[in-house]
Symmetry: C2
Subunit: 245 residues, 2 copies
């Protein structure tokens, strides 16, 4: 049984979306299979076995393209899940075999997280034929395989990297307000921050660039828009090595 898949290695993606209010996670409803008992979890992370000779990051991009229709989105490898018993559920393995037409023994999965700014257009573009849906990050159901564990690690990684790397901008519109930026930090980290001090810090950072543009069409004072300047960030990070012994 020889297919285009490499039956030993897969990728799974923890896809984060942010709609300026809430952190969301993309999950796939498993295509219904005859022998699925009604009480079984049928929901999983987007993922795939890798294709022979495909690089892992290509596999991950392929998966994202398949479910979201999106190219060029932020993707970062964050872990490997390799427990020999991770595909213990026989029925799930059967499902996987049927899906891929490959004899499954041990599968090691490489986990990626990805970041998507959700505006209305993207929220609706999800591939419905694959039952891809956004879930609130705070209300995640039981998932197949070890996907709850992968998701949990993904969230930990997101939080760690959000406070040490300029990745948050991938979850915001290109032009964002300082309060939107603060909201992102508060939602993802689950904390409250002092608005005046947050603004002060943000304004002091050259790589958060104020534009001569303001929000429009609101029924209240419109906020100034800002954008992330990567060149300035590079300068900044080369001068500042933060440091804990």
């Amino acid at each position: 049984m020889k297919t285009r898949f490499n039956p030993h290695i897969s990728v799974d993606c923890v896809v984060f979306g942010f709609d300026l209010n809430e952190l969301k996670i993309l999950l796939i409803n498993r295509d219904s299979v005859e022998d699925v008992k009604p009480d079984k979890n049928k929901i999983k992370l987007p993922g795939s076995l890798i294709i022979r000779f495909e690089e892992l990051h290509q596999s991950a991009h392929r998966v994202l393209q398949k479910y979201t229709g999106l190219d060029n989105i932020y993707l970062k490898q964050f872990g490997i899940f390799d427990s020999p018993g991770r595909l213990s559920d026989e029925e799930d393995v059967t499902w996987l075999k049927n899906q891929t037409n490959v004899e499954i023994q041990r599968v090691i999965t490489v986990a990626y997280y990805s970041l998507i700014r959700l505006d209305d257009s993207k929220t609706t573009k999800l591939s419905e034929s694959f039952n891809a849906k956004w879930y609130s990050a705070t209300e995640v159901p039981d998932l197949m395989f070890d996907h709850n564990k992968i998701l949990e690690e993904g969230i930990k990684t997101l939080r760690n990297e959000l406070i040490s790397q300029p990745i948050g901008f991938n979850l915001l519109p290109e032009k964002f307000t300082l309060n939107q930026l603060q909201q992102l930090y508060e939602v993802v980290l689950g904390v409250k921050m002092d608005n005046r001090n947050f603004r002060k810090r943000a304004i002091s950072l050259k790589y958060i660039e104020p534009l001569n543009e303001w929000q429009k069409g609101l029924s209240n004072k419109p906020a100034k828009l800002h954008s992330f300047n990567r060149d300035e960030y590079e300068k900044f990070i080369n001068k500042n090595t933060l440091f804990i012994i």
Copy 2:
């Protein structure tokens, strides 16, 4: 040709040693093979194909045990090297086949770095039958496969984690002096630091615990010994979330 090895996945270890003066790296001289041309690199990172149903971290520990005789040393996964062409050198692949008795197609390797405090006893315990030797981190020869790249990534990772996590203590004796600690940072990061300010910062950290013991047998003023207190570190890190937008 069925062996105990899983021929699709390997581990490679970047093993760092610190002797209070210099950062060292453990490399293996490839066992001489008949058909190796004299100008060929025969040096590589310690590594191995994984054994069927072995967890990856077990594989890495097995490799370290094999070459250093050491158990219980700090090991951390830091990357995956998956380029389909990474085993391009035919001769090297032949060598690998001979070593493992496994037909080699595409091999993905999972990279670990590990930290070893070098005192005289450990420096001499290296498994000589496998030609394991310590090299200065600043004078690394050309290595097989993509091992120079893996090593380079390993050093980057070490530097990043040294300034954000309490891993340096794995490279120092259990009881160390503040100047030894400073030396570690200076050597690994390649920078000079102000001694008075370094001491002040170190002394202010509760998790760097001063002992009532001093160095002995020196011909100069003996330094106070300190040890790392993990419990205090956990308290510290739970209170202090350092933060860059």
